[in-house]
Amino acid sequence: MKREAPQSIADYGPLFFPAGMLLVFFVVPFGTMIAVSFFQRQQGGFYTPAFVFSNYERFLSAFFGGVLGFSLMLAVTVAVCCVVLALPFTYLLSKLPRRLQVIWLVALLSVLSLSEVIIGFAWSTLFSRTAGITNILVQLGLMKQAVALSPSFGAVLTGMVYQALPYTVLVLYPALVRLDPTLMEAARTLGSSPVRAFFNVLVPALRNTIMATLIMVFIFALGSYLLPQILGRPQHWTLSVLITDQAIYQSNMPFAAAMAVFLVLVTLGLVALTLLIGRKGEKA
């Protein structure tokens, strides 16, 4: 099918509605936030229009730098864990009979319907000393006595991986289903065991998909602010938690806006860097 370039303004008609929605619900609020980030804060919860950099200056401290670093590290770890878990799982899923695949996908989708709050409290119960999974290990004789696994970094990580895993599987699934199955078979006829073929054929052949999935999960995990609070200690709180804290409890809108803008810029910068490295690797 040949696509013709739009001839008149009317040809762009179908774009008007989404463009309008995007403008009203994304561009305008985002612009407002950028503007607010330069406003002057008034004691007592208000702010006046101004053009000051004090909000950004305040952000450039060791404390906030540390939180930003931790947030990025957490998001990267969640993304890597999700892809490492989801890739073999989704590959095996794509080899199952159609009916079983549907059952698995429906189960995964149902996890998506759980709210972050429920996921958080469910895991905090599972990680607790009194009713947690360590009690099962004690019953099995694998542990001496039940311990609390939460709050801890591991608990935050587990909760966030649990939350992001269904997304990861759903993003990887179409690519794996479409992957030519004879590639893996060819690797086997050429002397590669199935496990080796997975690593030296399937993973490199799906490089771009894996990269895109990593970025998606990374950004998804960056926005998480409930799970770190429910399952972590204050040192495990992400920048999103601090933004919420400033915006809602400290009523410091300009500073919250400045942090949000900063987070967006850093995220965009990292994604661009990743894509750049990916492109270079492709040429080599």
Binding site: T182, E185, A187, R188, T189, S193, A205
Partner: protein
């Protein structure tokens, strides 16, 4: 014995039997073409030889060793897939070197072997190109080189030339055959193209419905088809019902054909006569009489459609070897007894 032996190989998918009780022995260094319509089980049989599908019954022996349960990557075979399955993330050279790398061959050995193979497939100096920049025929050659990199005992090809255009396909058939003869490797090709099978094979295995209908040299398959399926599937043919009297002398459409005798005890049989073996003469003189219904003049050959005894008979001949007839004319059909093949019922 050396070579490949299939012993009662069977494959069932649920209640459907794709391959049933196949017996075949392929001596070392033979070129075998498995030929049949789609769904006849030929690809399933090849996949079982490769170890990609497990047989539900029977055994597969390679050089006397039972490999039925040996996983694919330990079978020492090379396979070319219909999709070619070249690795998109590797260059031409890396694709060919893949099996060498897997076996832990040194970098120098890899390079030497890749250069050797690139020369063999007439693509020297192509090692650094990405696979996506190659033409269909070149990809084909790279897939062949990759499959041959480890000098396997068995070379398997699944519809290897079906993606190429007709002219290139004919050229590749000849090239593949010459390559196989040069290397002396036992080769099995699955195809649905009988020209391909006739061009390349030492032995053509005609399959239908999960069974081997006939396994013989191309010329024998053509001249002496075993049954109606093979006769009809390989080339075009006239299938004619005959009846025999008590002495076995056969008659066709009520005319006796001198010299044609059915095997003892057979009252009725179907015979196969190739169109080029049907001779047309003037009516009468003991010939079978018929009416010309259509003449297809192709320049080099002429096909004459004749209706005789309610059946349509096709005769093919060169323009000079046939009487001038047009549609509606009466002609005589002469069948020499030695060209009539009596088919199994």
């Amino acid at each position: 014995m050396s070579g490949l032996v299939l012993n009662g190989v069977t494959k069932q998918f649920g209640t459907f039997t794709a391959v049933e009780n196949v017996q075949l022995s392929v001596p070392h260094g033979t070129f075998v073409c498995m030929l049949g319509p789609s769904g006849c089980g030929k690809t399933t049989l090849l996949r079982m030889i490769a170890g990609l599908d497990d047989p539900t019954g029977g055994t597969i022996l390679l050089d006397g060793e039972d490999i039925t349960k040996v996983p694919t990557h330990k079978r020492n075979l090379g396979m070319v897939f219909q999709s070619l399955a070249l690795f998109p993330h590797l260059s031409v050279g890396e694709n060919i070197a893949y099996p060498l790398r897997i076996r832990g061959k040194g970098r120098e050995d890899q390079k030497k072997r890749v250069d050797e193979l690139l020369a063999l497939i007439h693509l020297p100096g192509y090692g650094d190109r990405p696979v996506s920049k190659l033409s269909g025929g070149q990809r084909q050659r790279v897939a062949i080189a990759r499959a041959l990199a480890l000098s396997p005992k068995l070379f398997l090809l699944d519809e290897p030339l079906s993606a190429l255009d007709a002219k290139l396909r004919e050229a590749m058939q000849v090239e593949l055959r010459q390559l196989q003869q040069k290397l002396g490797i036992t080769t099995i090709v699955v195809t649905h193209d009988q020209r391909e099978a006739m061009t390349m094979a030492d032995t053509v295995v005609v399959m239908n419905g999960g069974h081997i209908r006939q396994a013989a040299s191309p010329i024998e398959i053509y001249r002496k088809p075993a049954d109606t399926f093979v006769a009809d599937f390989i080339g075009s043919t006239n299938l004619i019902e005959t009846t025999a009297d008590s002495s076995g002398a056969a008659t066709v459409f009520g005319h006796s054909v001198p010299g044609l005798v059915l095997p003892a005890g057979l009252q009725k049989a179907t015979i196969s006569v190739r169109p080029e073996d049907v001779h047309l003469t003037a009516p009468g003189n003991g010939a079978i009489n018929g009416t010309v219904t259509f003449v297809r003049d192709l320049g080099g050959t002429i096909e004459t459609f004749v209706e005789a005894g309610g059946k349509q008979i096709v005769a093919v001949s060169t323009p000079r070897a046939r009487p001038e007839v047009t549609a509606g004319q009466q002609v005589g059909i002469v069948l020499a007894p030695d060209v009539c093949v009596v088919l199994k019922q």
